[in-house]
Subunit: 352 residues, 2 copies
């Protein structure tokens, strides 16, 4: 039934996580945010045109809800047909009737749908200046904790995804600032590691404290403390699946530094992130917590649609909670990856 979910990290805890959530109620939340770090040329594939980057989060949110975008008239896809991972998310949620909610944690623009507002400013370019004020870091955690209590009470498994263009760089910065060594993934096959390293190095020069709030303030983004807050309270009362790659490692590292112990928590991602040779997600997470990493073995390589196939060739890989949503779909309904691919292709054809 769950043959297309692989368990990495702590296998025993992974089996238990699956047992607790199989055929149960899921709730999907997408935390949209923004870091001006994404405006550094060459750092992200999200929004090929710099003016469009700020639409990434709202467009993903709208696509998941409506099946089209309201804030932009174009389909969220690169010119050569690589679709936003929100396409996978939307298909998986719909196939399993998993309800979803959008959380705005410092998006530069508001999406055109109802959302939970955290009233946070967007993150600044960490290559040049602090990402957010210490006050906002505190608020993100506090508001996140309130949201986590509410969302966690309502489901057997809370999936938390993120959409923040440029977010792997701020994740790298956060990990570095918190003393976790790890290579971060990328939305591009040629991971611009040197560029990211330079940005993080510049940002690290401003850091003169080991205080985790200071680390986020200097090197992070608004998404990381927000999700850490949600995670810390939701996991007290239900299972939490952190849907993402590198960014969720940064969330875990920060959450640990403020007292979270890893309870009831798994990371859920796609095989494309785990197989990324330029990154080492599993090793990075294992430095932080001995928790399971559930991997959706999606079969996009077998697609006849080149835009979908490109995911298996190093493009996009993950985002908008696509891996976690796919895992939730498989756990809830028992669907396999090939059938899910059929639905994804159907959705792809609908929008093109």
């Amino acid at each position: 039934m769950i043959s297309d979910i692989e368990i990495l990290g702590n296998t025993q805890k992974g089996i238990e996580f699956i047992k607790r959530t199989e055929q149960k109620k899921f709730l999907f939340s997408l935390v949209i945010s923004y870091t001006a770090t994404s405006e550094i040329p060459g750092i992200t594939i999200a929004g090929e045109h710099p003016d469009l980057i700020k639409f990434t989060g709202p467009a993903d949110a709208e696509f998941i809800h409506y099946g089209y975008c309201r804030s932009i008239s174009v389909i969220p896809m690169t010119p050569d047909g690589k679709p936003t991972p929100a396409l996978l998310t939307k298909t998986a949620l719909e196939a399993a009737s998993i309800p979803s909610v959008i959380i705005n944690a410092g998006s530069k623009l508001s999406p055109k749908l109802p959302f939970i507002d955290m009233n946070l400013d967007y993150g600044k370019n960490i290559g040049k200046e602090p990402a957010l004020s210490l006050d906002d870091v505190g608020k993100a955690v506090e508001y996140g904790r309130i949201i986590g209590r509410f969302l966690g009470a309502s489901t057997d498994c809370l999936i938390i995804g993120e959409s923040i263009p440029g977010g792997t760089t701020t994740a790298m910065g956060t990990l570095a600032g918190l003393g976790v060594t790890g290579l971060v993934s990328s939305s591009m096959p040629q991971n611009p590691v040197e560029l990211k390293n330079k940005v993080v190095k510049d940002a690290l020069q401003r850091l003169n404290s080991t205080d985790p709030f200071e680390v986020i303030s200097q090197l992070g983004d608004p998404m990381i403390p927000s999700v850490a807050g949600i995670l810390s309270t939701a996991s007290e009362i239900t299972n939490v699946l952190l849907a993402g790659g590198t960014q969720m490692a940064a969330v875990l590292a920060f959450a640990k530094s403020i007292g979270f112990e890893g309870k009831n928590t798994a990371v859920g991602t796609t095989s494309y992130v785990v197989e990324d040779k330029s990154a080492n997600l599993v090793e990075t997470i294992s430095q932080i917590f001995d928790i399971p990493i559930l991997v959706a073995r999606l079969k996009l390589a077998e697609s006849q649609i080149s835009g979908l196939k490109s995911y298996s060739e190093g493009f996009v890989k993950e985002g908008a909670g696509a891996g976690g949503a796919s895992i939730g779909c498989m756990l809830k309904t028992g669907i396999d990856a090939i059938s899910l691919l059929g639905l994804i292709e159907k959705e792809y054809r609908k929008i093109t």
Copy 2:
């Protein structure tokens, strides 16, 4: 066990509603809003000082979450000690560990906590001009429907309360515009019925259509179409308890006019509203739907605290979902009204 809940309206459906929700999961939502109609002198008790009226919704929301207010430094209480009904709501939710979420549907100010934003402008004074644009009425319904799908999927019973100062007048206007005759309740023992009638009469002169969206646009407020939207989708998948008095009659009338059929729905309120001689809530609702009205027989008359006792003397009566939250608490935990009063008094002493 539920001896302090009285069933009015359709008794059989009321018994079934109780059976479906007893000892089950509840979720409380508070829809905060604003109508400038509240600024007409003498129309509401909420915020004795006109400059403070706009804080009513945010203050109620903050009080329910934090046990104190952040947007104002004072305790939300009249100078002579009549507390906001949010005190009852907070006590009931806490006693039963019922999670809560705030929905901002056109509040003039944002509360200082995370909330679901419907991105609506506040309602204008219907005595002078249209309450909201037709576009905003449509958006309120549409966004409400999205929210209802998400909230309804997460619980066995969704309680929807409201906090909108001046809301009984716009409820009266909406009922009149939709052809429902009924007397509306008030937060004051001397219900300013003539003043309300005059305001509604002035507003009715602008109405030259029977279109329900036009009625809300001219005579309503942003809360009514928002809650109608939430109700219409949530009730498809779970039980819904509309927590309030007159305002919820207006919600039901509007919801009916756009196709809602009353499924899985009950009204929950306090005995003080039902006993209000200047109003006739049960008769008004029975004109719209044959549904149950659950009445929390709170024992505030037995309190030694005069501010609480005043509820039984015609002041405040209800608001911020107090009746529905009390019913939810009694249904979930089996607590009786006297024990609940003890907790309310304890909370009252804590804040004074």
